[in-house]
Amino acid sequence: MADVIEVGAARGDAPPPAAKAARRAASAGRTRRATPYLFLAPYLVLFGVFGLLPIILGVWLSVHQWDFQLPNRPFVGLDNYKELFSSDSAVYGDWWESVRATAIFTVLSVPLLVVVPLGLALLLNRSFPGRTFFRAVYFAPYVLGVAVIGLLWRFLLDANLGLVNRLLGVVGLPSDTPWVTNMPWAWISLVGVTVWWTSGFNAVIYLAGLQDISPELYEAARMDGANAWQRFRSVTLPGLRPVLLFVITTTVLASANMFGQSFLITQGTPGTETRTVVWFIVEEGLRDNDAGRAAAMSIVFALMLAVVSLANFRLFRYKED
């Protein structure tokens, strides 16, 4: 009410000084309205240049036969997309093989990358001597670059000279497993190395989530006679739901974008069975200079991932109801 009266007064009889004040107020209002945009501007510029513009250019490239060095880059309409779906094109076989490889890797790695770090986080969340040391140990591999872990494991997993087979032989297990050159071992190696490499990251996220759950809830559950499993199901898991959604979504995307591990450890073998989508896009776009085709692949792949991520969110929203 008071507001209305004041405003009315200001508008009603406006002597010159009041008009000035109003103008000042209006300009202050404009500044105030502009402030959030000013704060957003640096990010908007970056997003525009490195996010939006590339997407638009990507769509534009994907309807051309685009080699930036050749003088003519003809418009080809949807041809780049069509050849991904027609079995008599040169890329069809490779493309769907790479989609299959990516799907296999994602389906195998995501459950492990969601569950194993959760177990780790639950253990590391208890208080015991040396806890900080173990937290550091499990997080340590994540610090290494993919080139380091790739070369390291390629030598460790070598079928004939590697340490892994040597150790297996010492304890009487088969010592000639082709860890990086044949199926299904190549997938087992890639998933195993990735879990070893990246579990620490998800575990840290879970740890942060666990520490956000109020201890009173556990106390109350104990009072009600809930056992450890019941406390986990009814207090921990619901408390972690937003964290879980984050972990699952980012892990699915990270696994679907896998490139370095198979590039360095299995080198795509056997044949090209472990060549992932991202790797194939890089080959088409940069090695073979077919930027148009690579752009079409990127867009189709992005749509696939968008569908998967949407399904993810749906799933979690459904649970919340």
Binding site: P54, Q65, F68, N160, G271
Partner: protein, 443 residues
């Protein structure tokens, strides 16, 4: 100008940023003033008398050869007051990705070192210039080089590369293992019968003597050599159809795969494992690039020797490639820079004996026949391979097709498919890729 800025942004549009990375790296390199094109002082590389020019040179010599190359460039710079060459070195793979973007945005080098099998692609894509006048003015001809290397610098009957060297596969033998199996370590086998007889002896001594890698390095290159030894080819004469599933090709592939079946090689050999096994005495024979000589020299505990590849098939042949000098097309033609570049190329070509010490066979005949070259025993022993080296044909866009070839061998060597099946499937795919290339390069 706008055109070129656009293409850089379009590269970014791929979300891969390589083009940007290239131009950032290069921003630090500075560069002469392209606009100051004084009098066209040059006569195709004999000498240069114009104003001082700064030249940028790119290469991929990241190994021990890089040091030798830089030392040579320094020597050139001190001998030429009006030409200053600065060198930038990248990994070959990055290098080939970066070069086109850098060249088209005006940030490219003046001189680029390039493998022979890349020349056609870069020529067709307008990155490098014709060098016929250099060859003519320097009176360079096929007689000064080995015909195989000289002709490899041609694309569409025009010269794009001046060959510097050539690097073939060599036949490395472990002398200690040969002795252990009762063989004369100074007489490596040269024929198929001797070769296979030696393998039997190794087997008796408990050594798997000839490890077959399923990867391009080095199993794929070994297959490439043997396919040519059996009289097969990768492509037909016009590079219109892939032919690596011909009977000779299948026979050569089968012979290699049988090495694994007969236990002369373990199955599932990993990348570089055949070479590591060779150095540690678990493997006796391996076909590997001439570039390993310098590495082996650093391991005095390994007793080894190197010889030309034995003749397993019906004729001699070996995989080989060659480094060539090329001149990169510039947005603004600066006659002085081009003249200076030609002087440099000529000078280094004449000094290729020093380059040979880096582990390469000089392309120039005079250097190959010199006493100094013969005093480099390991390297000069491979020089005869130049006469029958099998280089890939000059056609643009062959990189991915040859990868398909290597992948077929991979499937055969890993036992995923029979040699016939693997090569048939590879040829079917390669033919579609060749068809694509024809559409793209309009040849």
């Amino acid at each position: 100008m706008i055109q070129n800025d656009m293409s850089r942004r379009r590269l970014l549009g791929l979300g891969l940023g390589l083009g940007a990375a290239a131009s950032l790296t290069l921003a630090g390199c500075g560069g002469g003033d392209d606009s100051a094109s004084g009098p066209a002082a040059g006569n195709g590389g004999k000498e240069y008398t114009g104003p001082k020019v700064d030249l940028k040179l790119w290469n991929g010599f990241t190994g021990g050869d890089g040091e030798i190359f830089k030392a040579l460039v320094n020597q050139f710079n001190t001998e030429h007051q009006n030409i200053a060459v600065s060198v930038a070195t990248y990994q070959w793979e990055d290098y080939y990705n970066k070069l086109p973007g850098a060249a088209s945005s005006g940030n490219g080098p003046d001189i680029a070192v390039m493998h022979m099998d890349q020349l056609a692609t870069f020529a067709a894509r307008g990155v490098i210039s014709e060098l016929d006048d250099v060859a003519k003015n320097l009176e360079l001809s096929e007689a000064d080089f080995a015909p195989t290397v000289w002709q490899g610098g041609l694309y569409n009957n025009k010269r794009y590369g001046i060959p510097l060297d050539m690097h073939p596969l060599g036949f490395y033998y472990n002398k200690a293992v040969m002795q252990q199996a009762g063989l004369d370590p100074n007489k490596p086998p040269t024929t198929k019968d001797d070769f296979t007889a030696a393998l039997v002896e190794f087997k008796k001594a408990g050594v798997q003597g000839f490890w077959i890698s399923p990867f391009q390095f080095t199993g794929g290159m070994t297959f490439y050599s043997l396919l040519n030894q059996w009289g097969g080819t990768l492509f037909d004469a016009d590079v219109a159809k892939a032919t690596f599933n011909s009977d000779p090709a299948v026979e050569a592939c089968t012979w290699l795969v049988d090495m694994i079946r007969q236990g002369h090689s373990p199955a599932n050999v990993g990348q570089d494992a055949e070479y590591l096994a060779f150095k540690s005495g678990k493997n006796a024979f391996t076909f590997n690039g001439i570039w390993q000589i310098n590495d082996l020299k650093k391991s005095p505990e390994v007793q080894w020797g190197v010889a030309p590849l034995p003749q397993i098939g019906s004729k001699k042949a070996t995989w080989a490639n060659s480094h060539n000098f090329t001149i990169v097309k510039q947005k603004a033609n600066n006659a002085n820079k081009i003249a200076g570049s030609k002087v440099f190329i000529n000078w280094l070509s004449q000094h290729s004996l020093d380059w040979a010490k880096g582990g390469q066979i000089p392309a120039r005949k005079a250097v190959r026949e010199s006493a100094e070259f013969k005093a480099l025993p390991e390297i000069s022993v491979l020089a005869p391979e130049l006469e029958y080296a099998a280089f890939p044909p000059a056609a643009p866009g062959l990189g991915e097709v040859i990868t398909t070839f290597y992948n077929s061998f991979n499937e055969a060597a890993l036992g995923k498919k029979t040699p016939k099946q693997a090569l048939d499937d590879g040829v079917a795919k390669a033919n579609r890729q060749l068809e694509d290339n024809r559409k793209k390069y309009g040849s």
